[in-house]
Symmetry: C2
Subunit: 241 residues, 2 copies
DNA sequence: CGAAACCTTGACAATGTTCAATCACTGTGG
DNA sequence: CCACAGTGATTGAACATTGTCAAGGTTTCG
């Protein structure tokens, strides 16, 4: 990892050159195959994880042994930072690749040491953490205000490049079981809701491909229940940090 | 606001004495009556708000004009920080007192200026922001995993001083309509669920008072669906035998 | 006093979950 | 190469939970 490459990232763009050098040496770069456990819940609480390419599932188990999906990360996303100043290992989770991935890792202890002496680095992490919180507020609102069909529609809309014309085809970035969990519903509910949504909004579904005849029709169904207007984000959710 | 008092707060405990002095001069202290609009959604995006005493509701309206409760703050809680580095005024909300309150406010611009030159201050804000995010993960999990009765029970348990004995009486800190919204359900659902919970777990409800005959009974009903164990704050499940 | 807010209750509708069955597809070992 | 197991996906039927609407009681406050 070049320190110049690091500086391109929002997280590090205000970091000192000393920090960037230290970081570029301390980071480890990894390539993993699909379905590999990247970090177990012990290690994750000690490690900063940044996704360069591919998709990563964050998950834990509840008391009944069922899997809870915390989040799904891709290019530009990261995790583990929330345990920086947390002594006890609690509320942690594991990370698993759901595609071939390229990631970088760094011991939180190293990061913490650098943060202590580099205000630019601290501010970068603060800024991104605040952004994550704003995103979480939106997600919570969606979970409360939107039904299954609307949440799926919202996810699809966020995959549309906003500069595209009306008619377009997008591809669901990972399997439907996981997507259902990510959107807070069961696989069966997802299957039915997607089918219903496709009738309602003139979509054609072929496996992972979603053909959208008229984007505005989808917007009209999905967005009224929301405090934002489409396009919600310049960059689709998948590529947000 | 004395700078020595400020330093007692987790947010500011690592701040430089220069920052503390600046802050203690820039802060404004306010006393408001119940049901006062403290900050509208424009002002809130420009203001740091810290609650000294009393209760504050954060809310906005959705497209249908219904109120969405974002959060309810009390002593030691704060908000507005998430707009520190956000140029556009989006996803904002308003703040209203729901009891007589004492709060302090500070323009975010001032805070931002101080953060730039005080790494201790930045780290304080980062640390608290990460803590908020960990709390939000727990809340999201609860919303997904717990039903109405369990969410109410969990809220009640968190009001119990963990060192109390089995039998105790707690008081709901604000009205049930708001509490229902805070817990992500309708007032009617709250009413029925609380009644059902009180039968299930030997509670006696008189208006705002909740008499708990056996706290463990409540724990037994509420906590199995959760990755934490009661008392939630201290003992991670990982260390149970 | 009267209006408004708070709270509860009943009947019913909407939404999502659970369970069981089925099918297609993929990768593995014999 | 085929049989087979496992995963992903869909569907139906029964069920559970929560929301909606309407009504009525209580409290609060001007």
């Amino acid at each position: 990892m070049q320190s110049s490459a690091l500086q391109q990232l929002d997280l590090f763009k205000q970091a000192s050159s000393h920090s960037l050098n230290q970081l570029s040496q301390a980071f480890k770069r990894h390539f993993y195959k699909k379905n590999t456990l990247l970090l177990d819940h012990h290690t994750l609480a000690l490690t900063f994880l940044y996704v360069i390419n591919g998709w990563v599932k964050l998950f834990k188990e509840n008391a009944n042994g069922e899997e809870i999906v915390i989040d799904v990360l891709t290019k530009g996303h990261y995790c583990g930072d929330e345990f920086l100043f947390q002594a006890e290992e609690t509320d942690t989770y594991s990370a698993q690749s759901i595609s071939d991935v390229e990631v970088i890792t760094l011991p939180l202890a190293t990061l913490k040491r650098l943060l202590r002496s580099d205000n630019g680095l601290s501010i970068g992490f603060l800024e991104q953490s605040l952004k994550k919180r704003r995103n979480m507020y939106v997600e919570t609102e969606h979970l409360n205000m939107k039904n299954a069909m609307q949440r799926i529609g919202c996810f699809i809309l966020r995959l549309c490049d906003q500069h595209n014309g009306q008619k377009l085809t997008i591809h669901l970035p990972y399997d439907k079981v996981l997507l259902a969990a990510r959107l807070g519903m069961r696989a069966e509910t997802f299957s039915r809701a997607l089918k219903k949504l496709s009738k309602e909004c003139s979509l054609k579904i072929h496996d992972q491909a979603v053909e959208i005849a008229c984007r505005d029709q989808l917007v009209h169904y999905v967005c009224p229940s929301c405090s934002k207007t489409f396009p919600c984000e310049t960059v689709p959710k998948a590529f947000r940090i």
